[in-house]
Symmetry: C2
Subunit: 568 residues, 2 copies
């Protein structure tokens, strides 16, 4: 394997228009990058393929929620209280540092230390500011969400979402209804997220503003089998379990041996791996690493990261987690709104269970004309929702209405019931777009005697074909331009180029990963044929001019130059 130097790759990215540091004319801001024309196209291709897999083929429902979200959302999710890093600040020049990063090498796991212990450790080692040599403050907590205020005057506190997931959790009732009230039902979202990193320094790997593709699959808490699992159970993945040795295991065996918690999780690990390979990652440099119990959120049942080996080492690209009922339950508790699913029994059953009963004596005088509607709304609540609250908020005739706890009580009741309410569990595959895009470039980059080729998968390549006249004269240029237009009209991104030697033009296209080039030469007028050249082998075949659009389309779909040459 080549150990790819990130600086070399970022330099190519900048020079050719994939990505570059944002707001550079004003000195930039660490952790913010622009996608240029080639980067945008690659990003669109990557996201488009993901949408095809998850929305078209797996049937997830796509949402698009606002980035700005009100405070209670993150109170519920835990981000407001616990989404923070520890930093120290230079007392002289104000430079800030992640405290745990500074302590690397002084302790085997600085992330496990308390704020106080970290401070002591830095003091003992006499750590100073790397910029000016000044003294550092004690460690302080810093919430990684960007805060802002909505509305004039004081405004309401709000945050830029640190992940797209919460927008889907708070909409579970909408998603469940849209899916005709059946489990499993899944939602996806592709969009920007934000983390106010203390001192991001790793290019596209640690950004303050980044794109995510997240899927939230809402499943029955007691049924995590997956109908399509049978078709992938013999597929093998490279696993690094939290206990025991790394190994390659068939998914069926991994679930049977309880290495992977359940079929659904295993299926989406397989789909994630397929996605990664299809966009061009080298499967020899991919592995799934399981979170250790201590590393995992307390509520999560199991969590696996797809890691890719790139110039920065092994880096997390995708997390696939069984998050249990945590997320939906947290929003039920915070909002008092019922976000449960309903499981219909095959036959109605006689059950003794806790129910919420309206206290008519209290609610009658309080709600008067609306008392009946309020009583009905109360009857639909579950004991879980009301327990320990002083009031619940429900929708009465389209209006949010507070109902004090004196209006209801939790009682045992024996009755024939047609089903039961349940809070769904969530299986979440969460993809980092920018990291995946960077890894695609890293794995595609090859250099031989200073000649750089990006071996991108044709379906991902920003430009599908270079179109050249051998010389820009004698009508060759006109013919090449017409051919280029034909490709564009057929929906294929093509690039016309007539400047410099033909070798230079090939080199420019190879360097940005264009899978093929089509050249019109002096023989074209005589034999009606053009030359089509393959990026990776540099081989060339001549085909009829009229076949050029079909030939490029075939190459984009994965055909070899040999197949194409048969088109005549």
């Amino acid at each position: 394997m080549i150990q790819m130097d990130p600086q070399e790759l970022l330099s190519l990215c900048k020079r050719r228009g994939f990505v570059w540091p944002a707001y550079d004319i004003y000195g930039g801001l660490a952790g913010l990058y622009d996608y240029g024309p080639l980067g945008s196209a690659l990003k669109n291709n990557l996201e488009g393929y993901w949408r095809k897999l998850y929305v078209q083929e797996e049937g997830f429902h796509e949402l698009s929620c606002p980035i700005v979200a009100p405070e209670p959302v993150f109170k519920a999710s835990g981000h407001l209280d616990a989404f923070s890093d520890i930093y120290v600040e230079c007392t002289k020049c104000g430079e800030t540092y992640r405290a745990d990063h500074l302590a690397a090498g002084m302790h085997e796991n600085p992330a496990s230390l308390s704020d106080e212990q970290l401070g002591k450790l830095l003091k003992q080692n006499d750590v100073k500011c790397a910029v000016c040599g000044g003294d550092l403050t004690s460690p302080k907590r810093f919430n990684l969400m960007f805060k802002t205020y909505v509305g004039a005057g004081k405004g309401k506190a709000a945050y830029l979402r640190p992940e797209t997931a919460q927008g889907m959790f708070v909409n579970f009732a909408q998603i469940y209804r849209y899916g005709r009230e059946r489990l499993p039902v899944g939602a996806v979202q592709i969009g920007r997220s934000f983390r106010n990193e203390i001192s991001p320094r790793q290019g596209l790997i640690r950004l303050r503003e980044f794109s995510m593709m997240e899927a939230e699959l809402f499943v029955h808490p007691e049924s995590k089998s997956w109908p399509k699992f049978g078709s992938v159970k013999d597929e093998a993945l490279s696993l690094v379990p939290s206990t025991g040795e790394p190994r390659v295991m068939k998914l069926g065996d991994a679930v049977k041996a309880k290495v992977i918690a359940n079929e659904t999780l295993a299926y989406f690990m397989w789909l994630t791996h397929k996605f990664a390979v299809d966009i061009g990652l080298d499967q020899r440099r991919l592995r799934f690493r399981q979170h250790a119990k201590t590393e995992m959120a307390h509520y999560a049942a199991d969590c696996w990261d797809l890691e890719a080996e790139i110039g920065y080492g092994w880096v997390e690209m995708v997390g696939v987690a069984d998050r249990g009922s945590y997320d939906v339950q947290a929003h039920i508790t915070q909002s008092g709104v019922d976000l449960s699913a309903f499981e219909r029994f095959e036959n109605a059953e006689e059950l003794e269970q806790e129910v919420v009963r309206p206290a008519f004596g209290t609610l009658g005088p309080l709600f008067k004309g609306n008392a009946k509607l309020v009583a009905e709304a109360i009857s639909r609540l579950t004991p879980d929702i009301v327990r320990g609250r002083e009031k619940v908020t429900v929708d009465i005739a389209g209006k949010k209405t507070d109902i004090p706890s004196s209006c209801y009580e939790v009682v045992m009741k024996k009755e024939k019931v047609s089903g039961r309410k349940l809070v769904p569990h969530v299986i979440e595959p969460s993809y980092g777009v920018d990291r995946l895009l960077y890894a695609v470039l890293d794995h595609a980059y090859t250099k031989k005697d200073e000649y750089v080729t990006l071996r991108l998968k044709p379906a991902m390549a920003p430009i599908k074909a270079g179109v050249f006249p051998l010389m820009p004269k004698d009508g060759l240029d006109e013919a090449a331009k017409r051919l280029c237009n034909d490709l564009v009209r057929a929906g294929i991104t093509a690039h016309y180029d007539d400047s410099g030697s033909i070798g230079r033009r090939y080199a420019r296209m190879d360097e940005i990963g264009t899978p093929c080039c089509v050249t019109v030469d002096f023989d074209t007028n005589k034999d009606g044929r053009v030359t089509i050249r393959d990026r990776d082998s540099a081989e060339q075949v001549r085909i009829r001019k009229e076949s050029a659009v079909a030939a490029v389309r075939a190459i984009v779909s994965g055909s070899s130059l040999q197949d194409v040459s048969k088109m005549g």
Copy 2:
């Protein structure tokens, strides 16, 4: 024309999963909406078609820049100083109001009043808080950008972009280089923008977070003709000029009569109109309204809004403006970085002109080993950039370097020059995605005897085909599911449904704009045919099962049911 009630349309949107108020379980936040599955699909289709027009066909380069941007960007653009509204606040309950909105009806143009005059007017009319009747404060200015801070500790002030345009202006040098240093060169960006509206109340029309599709065409300041203009000069548009009567004019005539400032502007007005009609807006309810001189930014040469007549009245959908050199010049001035283009003369000319000359005596001792590089960088500056500044910042060996004004001087010089620097002008078509999407729904909505049909253009429809078994039994359901899968595998969004009467199922699909439905019935097994039904005419034809995928694809491309019936 139907006067569409926004509440009726928003209610359909919410019920069927197009859009709904965001964060509803927490009481929501005015001006924030979620796109549900159907809304997301419609939005993707709309943006995809725009990208096809601008990027594929017109050759614009797509960028994707961060939403969070540092303060100097908006200092340069003018947003920091001038992007504000005037509000008053209730002294009792804290409710806020746009002062000019409250003054509507008390003055013929409240927006033209000074803050003081507005305050007086409200006082004279004894305006109170509409919520609690409390007294209102004097008018105050409120900047509409969302502010936040980047980095730990105090952090750096930053803003959520109020438009995507600035990301392209600050990148002019990158875009120009990517386009091989030729004018015109264009960039586009599709993405979220943010305006902290004081009290947004018009659904999707006035959002605090919204999507834009913006194009910035950088053109030669003295050459605003457009090669393709000839092909559209005989097309007629409905114009409302700032002076004179509304009229329908051919574009060629409008440019000749100087009603529209130049060919380039007129061409992009045509393209905007074409886009609007292609996505499904009714051209009888479209017009271009020219900004009055007083309404236009002082630097703009000409500006036209595409307006659509919807339930809220005539509403701006797209702005097409000639912004002159304002934007690029503003960033040159603010940053001190050279963002000019270079015009190469056909023959080198002898010219006497002002140039920036290095003062070697000063810069030598100051920059030592780098003096030569600094001198070269100085020679590349234009007098415009250095004039009146105490220092300029240039890139020396990849590092931003400050050069004090003592290191250069502006002198007249007669020399043979091969070309000249110029600051490009900008033609900007700026599209509001959410408004366009709302207008598409508004114009597509039809109701007859309470039966609702969304007559969406097939290419825009979120779902292209409903696939039904006549009854979910006797294998009809299996056959219909197979057919649905065939469509999905062919990349066509299809929806299987077997619940309720066939009439109910048609109605559900008509209500969300699905252009056709395919039904498998008891005859299918005998004659191998399925029924395909057209949404708008409710007509049906029977075609061979094997033709179903091709038939749906043809309908999505605009074929009629008659054409499809010929497929056999």
